[in-house]
Symmetry: none
Amino acid sequence: MNAAKPRYQQLKDLIIGRISSGELKPSDRVPSENELVESESVSRMTANRALRELDDEGYVERVAGRGTFVSDFRSQSHLLEVHNIADEIALRGHMHSCKVIRRSLQHARGEVAKALHVAQGTDVFHLLLVHFENDVAIQLEDRHVLASFAPDCLEQDFESTTPSAYLTAIAPLQEAEQVVRASVPNAAVKKHLNIDDEASLVVIRRTWSDGRPVTFARLHHPGSRYELTGHYAPPGKARTTLAEVVQLEELRQ
Amino acid sequence: MNAAKPRYQQLKDLIIGRISSGELKPSDRVPSENELVESESVSRMTANRALRELDDEGYVERVAGRGTFVSDFRSQSHLLEVHNIADEIALRGHMHSCKVIRRSLQHARGEVAKALHVAQGTDVFHLLLVHFENDVAIQLEDRHVLASFAPDCLEQDFESTTPSAYLTAIAPLQEAEQVVRASVPNAAVKKHLNIDDEASLVVIRRTWSDGRPVTFARLHHPGSRYELTGHYAPPGKARTTLAEVVQLEELRQ
DNA sequence: CTCTCTAGGTTGTATATACAGGCTAGTACA
DNA sequence: TGTACTAGCCTGTATATACAACCTAGAGAG
């Protein structure tokens, strides 16, 4: 299990550690390849691979001739910010509230065990909550958390701190995968979101910390009240946003 | 404009080309590093970098001691990646076809004029096409293109070249914004996608070139046959993908 | 025939070296 | 003072080499 990590990976971990500890802050200069050659006794190609991959992964930004600098994560995090529904709602200037439907300790089975890469029967916490934006249901959060990762999970007051805020406080969640689907909600989802004949937008997200998956969530949203947005380049200026432009009028004929 | 691509990138393009042309199909063996050293006259480290990055990007899968093989399920597209549906389908090793429902010159009005930042009445081309994956409808493309940007738009054979491939050939599309929604399809969408009681996943996308919006599209997908995926950090390899894990079982109770 | 083991191909990593090209500070010059 | 230029650091790429670990087909032993 404890196979020695390759040297370039150790270098990456070293830099990531300095970033997440706060020793290196956004736009700070990261040691150059040659400095790493000196201080870590590696060849320049190994230092190059470590820094290049950190660049690919968005941790740092490299400029030929100048150096390597810690990324300002904002550019990349517009979707990770969506991670915390409470912040998202606050950014819109609205009021967030939350109701816990269920919370329990379960034994992982089926897709939960697979998603979290644990054996069937492993302890996991299950949380089921509804998030409201100005008292309108906006998200049904159906989350499983590895019990060993967050032992005090059931004691948390999730009506004041969302699970994702709680989880990021425990440990940095470094990686995330998600799948976005449209589906016809079943009765339970309809009930909790208070919708009727309406599609739901489902975001299924798995988040990793320290190289292993720690939480797996299905986030159901009412199709008429929620959407995801993204851009590929800074829209920067005050242009009309696509979301503003797009009305609910649909294709005719 | 014509900066020579680095050699490792040329190798990647070569392999990707063979995959999307169908010459290499899922689970086929890709030339080994040493074979590329021979055939392409590069050093093994350069071939290694090309194949390793293709692995990181999910195009191929590498197994120490056995070889490199074309990945199988690339059945999803990246959430934040401007994609060409034909390429996406080709990468899955499937057959793409397309049927033009309508094409016409129109005068922009309402949301189209707003989205493209032009005055009401400006000339725009309207395209309505259905894309098929192995003869199953997978996307209804409802697109508006600024006529001044692509004057010969109506002469194109969109059944062999998709609009997005045609548009990127005219000029680099530098920025894109998109909104993702779940909705209940109306009659026209149902008819063209050949679905019934099913939600649809709608991607609304506006693309910019040279600082102005040039095209605006609504892409409707059947909720049961299409999903978007995203990664925020390389999940590494040899792990089960989230999309593989997530079955259609939904929240109970 | 069956089992074991090994040779050789494949990926994974690490190093040393080399050259090209971008960027900047500071020097030399006008 | 101001401008041009260059030395020096930085990243980006490419190559040659080396060794380790993994996998498999096939040779050889029983």
